[in-house]
Symmetry: C2
């Protein structure tokens, strides 16, 4: 299968190829994509190869077909139902992000213990109280959960979700979750991006 760095680069390629489609282009070359992202053309061609797309010498890749291949490789042409737990600052931002819906992520319900939030709708998604989480996750047969609760509640909430049948967690908290082997955890860590930025700014200041 494809390496993680390859998979991580595909959304940036998709973004550029979709722009080419909007501009009415029929073909796009690996070199054009590489220049836009300051990558090596050979790297881009190797990455795109994992999606099964075949390019034509001198013309490049057919734009529509390339979009289809990337979306299908990422399974972004299929719908994945998810629940979101912790409808606070970050949770609300994610509920409002249309890009995810475009890529098949369908958040069907949110859960939060705050009495002021339970029973409301945020960006088209109904927020329920935490007591209803396990019943609703089971009834809906949802397998994916987005975790945006405060760190100190992350492990307990994750255990409840897994008991209710959740098999994959997109973890936005800064806690390393202990989960059984069959459960996938994808950690999204803003602080490591901020760490890299801080070090780069430090080097810049030292010059």
């Amino acid at each position: 299968p494809a390496s993680l760095p390859t998979v991580k680069r595909l959304p940036s390629y998709l973004h550029i190829v979709e722009a080419a489609l909007r501009e009415g282009k029929e073909y796009i070359s690996g070199t054009v994509i590489a220049d836009e992202l300051e990558l090596e053309p050979i790297q881009v061609r190797k990455d795109l190869a994992v999606t099964g797309i075949v390019g034509t010498p001198r013309r490049g890749f057919p734009v529509r077909e390339l979009i289809e291949c990337i979306n299908s490789f990422l399974r972004w042409n299929q719908q994945t139902d998810a629940v979101l737990v912790g409808a606070g600052n970050l949770g609300t931002a994610l509920l409002g992000y249309g890009e995810f819906r475009k890529h098949g992520l369908n958040i069907v319900a949110a859960f939060d213990p705050d009495k002021k939030k339970a029973g409301t709708h945020m960006n088209g998604v109904q927020v329920h109280s935490l007591h209803q989480m396990q019943d609703r996750v089971q009834a809906l047969g949802v397998r994916l959960a987005i975790l945006t609760v405060p760190g100190e509640h992350a492990q307990v909430v994750s255990d409840l979700l897994i008991q209710a049948g959740i098999q994959a967690i997109w973890n936005f908290t800064n806690v390393k979750l202990k989960v059984p082997p069959h459960v996938i955890v994808q950690k999204e860590d803003l602080s490591s991006g901020y760490a890299v930025l801080s070090v780069k700014v430090g080097i810049q200041n030292a010059q």
Copy 2:
């Protein structure tokens, strides 16, 4: 200097060592940190070495000193002033995130063209209209900007910021910014995390 993957791992180590301090521990070993994160102990020790910390055989690293060394290596013990541009869903979430302030990121002002937002305060930060951005950035002498505007406005806003003296941009949009060589851009891309998650869920379903 340290490699990027090493820098990216340091915040997770810091999180564990800070928890050890709260539990009253005086020393912590590389192995304990490694086990918590499912990493190799030798990797953890190599990473920590870049911060200048020295461990004691059989006891490990002194907890208070290790926290100090990581914070100083990341420059998280210094204050960095920043402005945030685009006080929408994501911008508001970032303004409300106390973890950043703890690590020295001091957002001094936000800017947004929405008349309903300009003149308000969000989580203690004043939101100004976009017209005031360049003057205020210059007057405050801020060098770092957090970009959470819609993708189609990213490049124009980035050009205005750089003209006003900004030298580093934390880019949350999905657009590759074209900037002069002296400007640092750190891209934060939620869609690559979602790509990895989608592929892992696909493999899980296929089993």
